[in-house]
Symmetry: C2
Subunit: 406 residues, 2 copies
Amino acid sequence: RTDGDRLWTALMDLAKLGATPKGGVNRQALTDLDRQARDLFIEWCRAEGCSVRIDVIGNIFARRQGRDPDRPAVLAGSHIDTQPTGGKYDGCFGVLAGLEVIRTLNQHGVETRAPIEVVAWTNEEGCRFPPCMMGSGVFTGQLGLEAMLARTDDEGVTVGDALDAIGYRGRDAIATSEIEAYFEAHIEQGPILEDTGNTIGVVIGALGQKWFDLTLTGVEAHAGPTPMALRKDALMGAAEMALAVNRIANARQPHGRGTVGSMKLHPGSRNVIPGQVTMSVDLRHLEPEALDAMVEELDAAVDEISARHGLTAELTPTADFAPEHFDETCVSAVREASRQLACSCMDIVSGAGHDAIFVGRVAPSAMIFVPCENGISHNESENATPEDLHSGCNVLLHAMLKIAEI
Amino acid sequence: RTDGDRLWTALMDLAKLGATPKGGVNRQALTDLDRQARDLFIEWCRAEGCSVRIDVIGNIFARRQGRDPDRPAVLAGSHIDTQPTGGKYDGCFGVLAGLEVIRTLNQHGVETRAPIEVVAWTNEEGCRFPPCMMGSGVFTGQLGLEAMLARTDDEGVTVGDALDAIGYRGRDAIATSEIEAYFEAHIEQGPILEDTGNTIGVVIGALGQKWFDLTLTGVEAHAGPTPMALRKDALMGAAEMALAVNRIANARQPHGRGTVGSMKLHPGSRNVIPGQVTMSVDLRHLEPEALDAMVEELDAAVDEISARHGLTAELTPTADFAPEHFDETCVSAVREASRQLACSCMDIVSGAGHDAIFVGRVAPSAMIFVPCENGISHNESENATPEDLHSGCNVLLHAMLKIAEI
Ligand SMILES: NC(=O)NCCC(=O)O
Ligand SMILES: NC(=O)NCCC(=O)O
């Protein structure tokens, strides 16, 4: 068993870097606070005798050698960057649970055949430098290195310059073939485990995501003198589209999701008919065919609704992640570990994107979810219990050992 | 007949103060540009021999004496402040048409029995200092002087301080009983005259307005991991409300209007379910009973829609202007003047608020509309033809003379 107190202490120590008054963490990717967190993580890993490597996009790999050093490693990890109003657990739990696995093996003098390795992926959140999951995307070849190094934040700073500034543009070339399996422990970021009273979510896959920007253009006009019949109110189309996005997802339960998170009205004045509305659309589903069908329905709704309201419409894709079904062997290792440890568990699908989704395309992977309070994350009030985090860490240890072999 | 070229020249000269690169005007109330425009207007009035008075809220009255100096004046006017992206005609036309009436009478040596007076009301637009129609509201006792002097702009400057800064906090006490009739010439700000091919709108009344802020609160959550059935998406309620506002107005044609001009999503991130939406509602109608019924339907829609989506709702009134039916004698004077001058005309209702609505509560009033291109105003592309403006000015002259008597 891992040491729950030690895990908790590490989480709380890391959370001090960028701590916010409301109990959250603001430690965005490649800032000096991120550097401090990276330095601390590496210090902890070196203290456990790990060798540390840093790749060209700043991903940090800390390896505890196995009896068979040429065998690929059993890897655990996640990320230590946060949202601007982030919490203490999103990402950090997966990294520090990996570290706690190594600390436990060292404490008990347990050797493994395969090396055990912990990774902290660069810029999973993508809030300072879009897109999200940048480090694992580059590592797995899903995102181009040069394109990513050229991405800029709001101040125009590039990822490359930011990596240099904090001294984390590494030189180590790490091959995906060095990974035998990857496990990522993470808070659920949703309400299902809490709702069903389960401690462990055995993550069998992740929803595919297709994101769009939709701009509807009508005619801006004065709210008083313009008769209803002569209006081209862009908000009428936008409102119907928001309801349509919801309907499209509702028709495909349990795995469909449809969200309009952002909507901007132009000019946005209370006595002016909105001449233009820009809005985001986020569609998700576990099955590629279902996701494609949802996009087709979205297209049809845009055409029908904009035509009916006399609007022009422009729908632009902004992100596209294929659905992921995790590796059956890794998933089984998580399920069996949960049962052996007598943790209540259920199969679950990740609704959110995670580094494991990219890694899963190049190596057998799985995830372990633990409950978070009210399903809330990306929020300073994000919360999880020490007991659940400890359980998740124990499951991680046992699942990794099943692959790495003692 | 008035001099159309002279009117046009005055409009173009005034439009230089605050001219924008796109051909509009940005001359917000009580700025130094407003001071320059006021100074120029007063200079023009004094050149015509008018005596100028300025009241406690900065309204400027320029009087051409009549044969019977104790008789109340026949007043014309509007405002010379503009929206930040305003045009050359909204407001300025009514003031400079009044000035052109005086210039024409002087040119032809015409005496009137009643005095002829021109007014430029302070802060009609209300964009820097809400509410709109502040000067006429204070003059007519509809808005409290002390409360209005204490209103602040975004920088915290009060109306009182801004009046002092430009030297336009006046000392003249002007009684509403000094007004025999009030005529306001204005661009229509809507598409009806253009649509029907009429030059003059004989404004018989103005829609009442009831404005609200509506806040719908649900639960902010991650767009991926939160199943559709467990959401409380504030945008679902807001979208239905926007459609309901439209429906409520559509059911009451030709005089119903319903507009949601502003809508803000919190947190407004593309992969977060909106936890809160704040939106504006603007309802208008010519009949008080119909307007009240629209508000009742709005209340019912808020209750039904928020309950169905599990949201809490807060509906706060932010403005309330009663419908206005203009004085029959003044309206007839406008209609007859149009016919005598062989201008095509139609009865029309003002959808927008105007100073004449407040003045109409204390003195017989009417308005004269001229077409504006595509019905567009509050926009730098606002446009009107010299011919239509000249026609409107001629109608103003003749309508005023009917009351003032030669
Ligand atoms: N885990 C996580 O919050 N990923 C962000 C991308 C998304 O799933 O919306
Ligand atoms: N004339 C005008 O634009 N008034 C502003 C108030 C309104 O009617 O919305």
